[in-house]
Structure formats: C-alpha cells, structure tokens
C-alpha cells in the first residue's frame, strides 16, 4: 500500500479519480437535495415517487436526458454551438485540482502548485466563455442577452472576489491552498480560522466572498443570465438533451468547487473546529465534507429566500458596494500585518 502510494503512475490517476469522481457523483445527489430542500421550504413534497424518498429521481432525470432528442436549431453557428457546453464544463472540472480535500498530501490535491489559488481563479474566470458562446451561437435574442449578462456579471464580481482572496494570501504569505489551511491551524481551534482573524476584518472578507461566490456561479439571487421570467432560460434556451445536461452538471459542479474554496480559504479546510478529543476523532476529509455541506445548504437556502436582483442593482452592488468595501478591508488587513511585524 505504501509503495503503491509513492508510485507516481498510480497515485496521480488515483488523485484525478478521487477529485473528479467525487465532484461528478456529488452532482446528482446535490440535485436531489436541492429539490427536496426547496420543496420543504415551500411546504411542498418535492420528488418522492422514484425510489425511496425520491432518491432515484436524479437517475430517472439522467436517463430521460440521455434519450431525449437532441434538437439543433437551423441557423446556429454549429462549431461554436457544439464547443460551448464543453467550454463550460472542462474549466469547472479542472478548478478543484488544487483544492486539498484532506490532510494526506499524497491523495489530494491533484497538484499542489505554488500558484494554487491563481490557477483556481484562472479556471473559474474561463467558465464564462462557455456561457457567452452558448448565448451567441444559439442565434436567439434571449440567449444572447443571457450571455451578455453573464459576462458583465462575472467580470464585475471577480474583482471583489479576487480582493477578498488577496486578503487571505496576505495572511498566509503563500498562494498554495495547502499552506492556507495549515496557516489556520492552532491551539484555539476555530478562532484561528481566517473568518475570525482580526475581527471583524476576516468576517468582512468572508462576507464579500460569500456574495461574490453566489454571483460567480450564477445562482439566485444573481441568476440573471438564466432569469426564466424575462429570458426563458437565458443562454441555454436552445440546448437540449445531453448538451443541456452539461451546462446543468457544470453549474452544480461549480457550486461544489466554490464551496470547497470557501471552506479552504476561510473555514479551516479539513481542520476540526476545536483541536481536542471528541472533535479530532472525526477524520479531516469528513470535516471538510461537513463544512462543504453547510455552504451547499446555504446556496439552496438563499435560493428559496431571496428574490432576484434587478440588473442595475446587481451592477451597483458589485461596483459601488462590494469593491470599495473589499479594497478598504484589504488595506486595513495590510496595515495590521505591517504593524505586527
């Protein structure tokens, strides 16, 4: 076992299998959890016919999507129309490669590169191409509007998100996500996490990241690119069958990835909330999953609670509220760090 784990020809495919496999198998479960939770919050029953408690509903949906007719509208730009779903899903699946899911550095991350978080930012910023190109190539005005909204929204919120990430980079002194988790280790447990660092500055950075992560994944209340009441389904209006499923999978996979980034950057990754007996019995990856679950729940909870923002409100919130707050926050953290030296 030990020699196997030291062989790069075994361990690297194993890492890829763990991360990609985990993200892809989480997607159907996540769809089921989301539908059931939304139903619970809206006093409905939700999917409860296929399998026990509707657990096999995602399987049924998957089978349905596989066997649906793949309708391609007549006047689309065929090459880009086919490229767009892949252009969306591939960066989404590449992004979790640098996230450490547990303390054992032989199993995750796939590559602990020294630009860690920058790689992740690069990949998340590329997902917008899939959406924009889908919107443009569909030759449909609603799709085009959805694509345009997605590109404007992603660029606006990436700045605030980047600045809140920079504050974590300042605290850690490294771009590697593994170092970021290890920097939150300490005798105080959860008080050492970046959320509670330099109270309330860490909390503000976390809040900015929280809002930006909803906007980056195009989730409610920032789901303007696919606002069904105005744009039918936005950028994926003209997509059907498995091409639609790729957008769908990509959206849920990016929810998982961005929640994992949140946990890693601000909530101590795999570290237990208190560093003594009953808490340390639970292994690190399980703690990671528990924290991940909290943020997945947050995504769904927000979707059930908040109405969609108007487009000008979205832009105003991004540029006039979040960005200045993030800048001032970063400045204050830098001053405290300089003063501490």
């Amino acid at each position: 076992m030990e020699t196997l784990l030291n062989n790069p020809w075994v361990v690297i495919p194993l890492r890829v299998l763990i991360v990609i496999g985990f993200v892809l198998t989480m997607v159907p479960g996540l769809v089921w959890i989301e539908r059931r939770l939304l139903a619970l919050m809206q006093i409905r029953k939700g999917p409860n016919r296929v399998g026990p408690a509707g657990l096999l509903q995602p399987v049924a949906d998957g089978i349905k999507l596989f066997f649906k007719e793949d309708v391609i509208p007549e006047r689309v730009d065929r090459f880009i129309y086919f490229l767009a779903p892949a252009g969306f899903l591939i960066p989404v699946l590449c992004a979790p490669a640098v996230i450490p899911w547990g303390p054992d550095d032989r199993l995750t991350p796939i590559a602990d590169v020294n630009i860690g978080i920058l790689f992740l930012l690069a990949m998340t910023s590329l997902t917008v191409y899939g959406i924009v190109l889908a919107g443009w190539s569909s030759n449909n005005k609603y799709s085009l509007l959805g694509g345009l909204r997605a590109s404007a929204q992603t660029i606006s919120y990436e700045l605030a998100m980047g600045l809140s990430i920079v504050s974590v980079v300042l605290l850690t002194g490294s771009l590697s996500m593994r170092d970021m988790v290890l920097n939150q280790q300490g005798s105080l447990g959860m008080l050492n996490w970046h959320v509670f660092r330099f109270f309330p500055l860490g909390l503000i950075a976390t809040g900015i990241f929280l809002v930006a992560m909803l906007a980056e994944t195009n989730r409610a209340p920032f789901d303007l690119p696919e606002a069904e009441s105005e744009l039918i389904a936005g950028y994926h209006t003209e997509y059907s069958s498995m091409k639609f499923a790729m957008f769908f999978m990509g959206e849920y996979a990016s929810m998982i990835t961005i929640s994992a980034v949140m946990v890693t950057l601000f909530f101590g990754g795999w570290l237990p909330p208190l560093p003594f007996a009953p808490f340390t019995w639970i292994p690190g990856p399980l703690w990671f999953l528990i924290k991940l679950g909290v943020f997945i729940y947050f995504f769904i909870w927000v979707r059930a609670t908040l109405p969609r923002l108007r487009y000008d409100m979205l832009m105003k919130l991004g540029w006039l509220r979040l960005l200045p707050t993030a800048l001032v926050n970063l400045f204050l953290i830098a001053i405290i760090l300089w003063w501490q030296q």
Partner: protein, 164 residues
C-alpha cells in the same frame, strides 16, 4: 524531450491561431482564436517555469480582457465583414512593408544572439521572484506603468461621460 514536443505543438498553435485572428471573417471566431493563442502562450510560460506569469496571462488576458472584447463584439453585433473593410487602399502595402520590417528586425535580434542563450533558472517566474524584482530593481518602471493605466482609465471616463 516532453517539453520540446509540447513547445513544438504550442508554437504551431500560436502561429496558426495568430494567422486566423486576422484571416477569419467572423469577429467572434477571430476573438476565439486570440483566446486560444493566449492559452498556448501561457503553456510556453509554464515551460519556462514561469507559473505566475502563465496564471496571470490566463486570468488577465483570457479571463478578463477577451471576455470584454467578446462582450463588445456581441453587443454591437459585428456580423457583417463588409463594414469592417478599410477604406484607404494605400494602407495595405504600407502595412505589409512594416510587418516585413518587424519580422526582419525580430529574426535578426533572435539569431544574432542565439549563441549567448542560457538555460532559465527554474525559480525565475515564481510569485516570490517576480514580486521581489518588481518592488526592488524595477520599482520605477512598475509604478510608472500603474500611473499610465490610471491615465488611460481617467481618459476613458472623460471620453465616455463627456455629455454629463
């Protein structure tokens, strides 16, 4: 060996996509070729161990600037290539001449100093090294560049909001 094969492939991609950027008629495809070009360039940076530069290349050029380009192209719906044609015919030979001159100067510069080429130290492009040199040896050019960018931003706002 692997690096050289990768370099060959990426160099080919860069040359082909660069030509397509100007040769393709559809502006959206042109922009997409430029994105592919930036990607291949990022891989070349990685081959030089410049991970930071590679990541910044993807984030800034592919992730931000080209998205804005695509946004503009789609917003204006630049579909008809006829509208993009140049009106002044005499510009064409001058452009060809200048391009040829550029290639000669570039190739001359490269081939004249080919013998002096040295392997790159493998920590040259890390965040630590880039940061260190930016804020010690190159701090004045760096700050001047930031002032230049600020001027460009102010200029853009003045031009856009002239009628306010």
């Amino acid at each position: 060996m692997f690096g050289q094969i990768l370099f060959g492939i990426m160099a080919l991609v860069i040359v082909v996509t660069s030509i397509w950027v100007v040769a393709v008629r559809n502006p959206v495809r042109s922009a997409l070729n430029l994105v592919a070009n930036f990607f291949a360039l990022a891989v070349l940076y990685l081959l030089l161990y410049a991970q930071f530069v590679a990541a910044v290349q993807v984030i800034v050029y592919a992730g931000a600037i080209m998205v804005l380009f695509l946004f503009t192209i789609m917003l204006l719906n630049l579909g008809a290539p006829a509208e993009l044609a140049e009106r002044f015919e005499w510009k064409r030979p001058i452009t060809w001449g200048l391009a040829l001159l550029f290639v000669i100067v570039l190739a001359g510069g490269v081939f004249a100093r080919l013998g002096e080429a040295q392997p790159v130290p493998d920590n040259i492009g890390t965040v630590q090294m880039v940061g260190k040199y930016l804020f010690t040896d190159w701090v004045y050019p760096f700050e001047l560049t930031s002032v230049l960018l600020l001027i460009a931003i102010v200029g853009a706002i003045v031009m856009a909001k002239r009628r306010l």
